[in-house]
């Protein structure tokens, strides 16, 4: 059994999600290879080669992989799929984008967002926004899998795999990147943060969100998140959204401020280790999953909270 893990990166550095995907591959068992497709991304391949458990890194370096277009990446993976029993990618927006194409071109099912490995062909995945867990067995020869990153602890460094160059596939050229507006932040990435401060509709507006939650997040070294209501209302950009269809997070500490706790939001954060909820409505559903519940006016207590954190 040999497993191919598709690395996620920005041509400069390896994204942490790759380490969780390698961890899932290690649970499946077998030899692990990592595919790095990009442009000018040799440094990423070197990083991937250091991950514990990785036996080989395959590097496809060409201009038409720079933007990670789903069409080109999927075609490359399929062209190099021979001999692999499993093709694994993190369930990030990039992984979700190209991976089903790989599965369709191989004429196999994809097993989306696995949270546990039962055996080489049997996996556990959440359905209905995490309200049920399905154990599914694949009957296909090749298993194409995306991995919920929060469910697998990142592998450490300690490997020294060889990096092998791979011939680039053709540029399908039917899609072109026009622009990217990436949110710049000094704070930790939402999906990798140890602490997350998240705001909802109760913040009232974007100004309050920033004025109240940023100082608290800065003191805690936390990432900032939001509920769908807060994103829809325009308080913060889309990439802040935590929930069934946004980001799935599982930090050590999740602080929900002015978030009522819709099922769709809970689906994205209920695996957090410790949950604090601050809401003035004692009936808010968020309190049903909170370890520590503070029924209070957030405008009063958040500045106090910020002051109290050393």
């Amino acid at each position: 059994m040999t497993i191919l893990v598709i690395a996620e990166h920005d041509n400069q550095s390896l994204k942490a999600a790759t380490k969780n995907a390698v961890a899932a591959a290690a649970k499946i068992g077998g030899e692990i290879h990592v595919l790095v497709a990009g442009a000018g991304c040799a440094g990423v391949a070197t990083e991937a080669a250091k991950l514990a458990g990785v036996a080989k890194v395959k590097l496809a370096d060409a201009a038409h992989y720079a933007d990670q277009s789903a069409e080109n990446v999927a075609a490359l993976v399929v062209a190099n799929a021979a001999g692999y029993s499993h093709i694994v990618a993190p369930a990030t927006t990039a992984g979700k984008n190209f991976s089903p194409r790989v599965a369709a071109l191989l004429d196999v099912a994809q097993i989306s967002e696995i949270v546990a490995v039962e055996s080489a062909d049997t996996f556990v995945r959440p359905i209905y926004a995490g309200n049920a867990l399905a154990t599914v067995q694949s009957t296909d020869a090749v298993k194409v899998i995306t991995v919920r990153t929060t469910a697998f602890e990142a592998v450490a460094e300690g490997g020294s795999a060889a990096v092998e160059n791979l011939a680039a596939g053709p540029d399908l050229g039917n899609s072109k990147l026009l622009s990217r507006e990436l949110t710049k932040s000094e704070r930790p990435e939402l999906t990798a943060a140890k602490i997350i401060v998240s705001g909802g509709r109760g913040m009232g507006n974007g100004e309050n969100y920033h004025k109240l939650l940023e100082p608290l997040a800065d003191k805690l070294g936390a990432a900032l998140g939001a509920s769908r209501a807060a994103v829809d209302a325009g308080f913060v950009p889309n990439d802040y959204q935590v929930g069934q269809t946004g980001k799935i997070v599982a930090p050590e500490l999740y602080i929900a401020v002015g978030i009522s706790g819709a099922i769709q939001h809970l689906a994205g954060m209920k695996d957090s280790k410790v949950i604090v909820a601050i809401n003035k409505d004692p009936e808010a559903p968020i309190f049903q999953v909170a370890d520590y519940a503070l029924v209070a006016d957030l405008f009063e207590v958040i500045p106090q909270f910020t002051a109290a954190v050393a």
Partner: protein, 249 residues
Amino acid sequence: MKILVPVKRVVDYNVKVRVKADGTGVDIANVKMSMNPFDEIAVEEAVRLKEAGIATEVVVVSAGVAGCQETLRTAMAIGADRGILVETDVDLQPLAVAKLIKAVADKEQPQLVIFGKQAIDDDSNQTGQMFAALQGWPQATFASKVVIADGKASVTREVDGGLETLALNLPAVVTTDLRLNEPRYATLPNIMKAKKKPLDTVKPEDLGVDVAPRLKTLKVAEPAKRQAGVKVADVADLVSKLKNEAKVI
């Protein structure tokens, strides 16, 4: 330009599903069924493109049990012109659905196919991408803005780091995210009108598609419940508990 919109009938998003005691699945007997919310956004987007004079016809297609007719009627009440039901009692998985939609698209020859990014029942997030791959078409998933001009679709996507905009050659696939639009409520006159719109029914066999499932569900279980927490009196109490009890700050 013709637009094809696949729609799925799912358990209504307001229903909290229950896992069956025997662990074979979730109980969907007697629960409210609705159109997958992301598909509703897809129908709305297609209808808006028609209203803007860019699309000439909006065709909706659904695959599944006879009850999917209702879902197609809902889509036609929003403004789709006609519906196609691929009727089967087989438990359809994304690859099978992608193949069925491909068979329909081969006949209908749409320039744009708009899918919902994921269905809220199986949360797979696959069908649009699989269909695009089978067609050899470009795709833009998780769309928050779609502009059609000069034979291209320029689509803004919600990605992990923020937003990106792609230009796709047509024909192409778009999958919708939440902020693409807010679907309208179907008015009573439009619901009545939708009942008279054409709805064709075909079978997977007619389309020559093998829909046998590839994944076998061995068990469905409820996730572990979180223990009920405690109420804290004030901020001082909270901070002290986080420091001394939970030891997370």
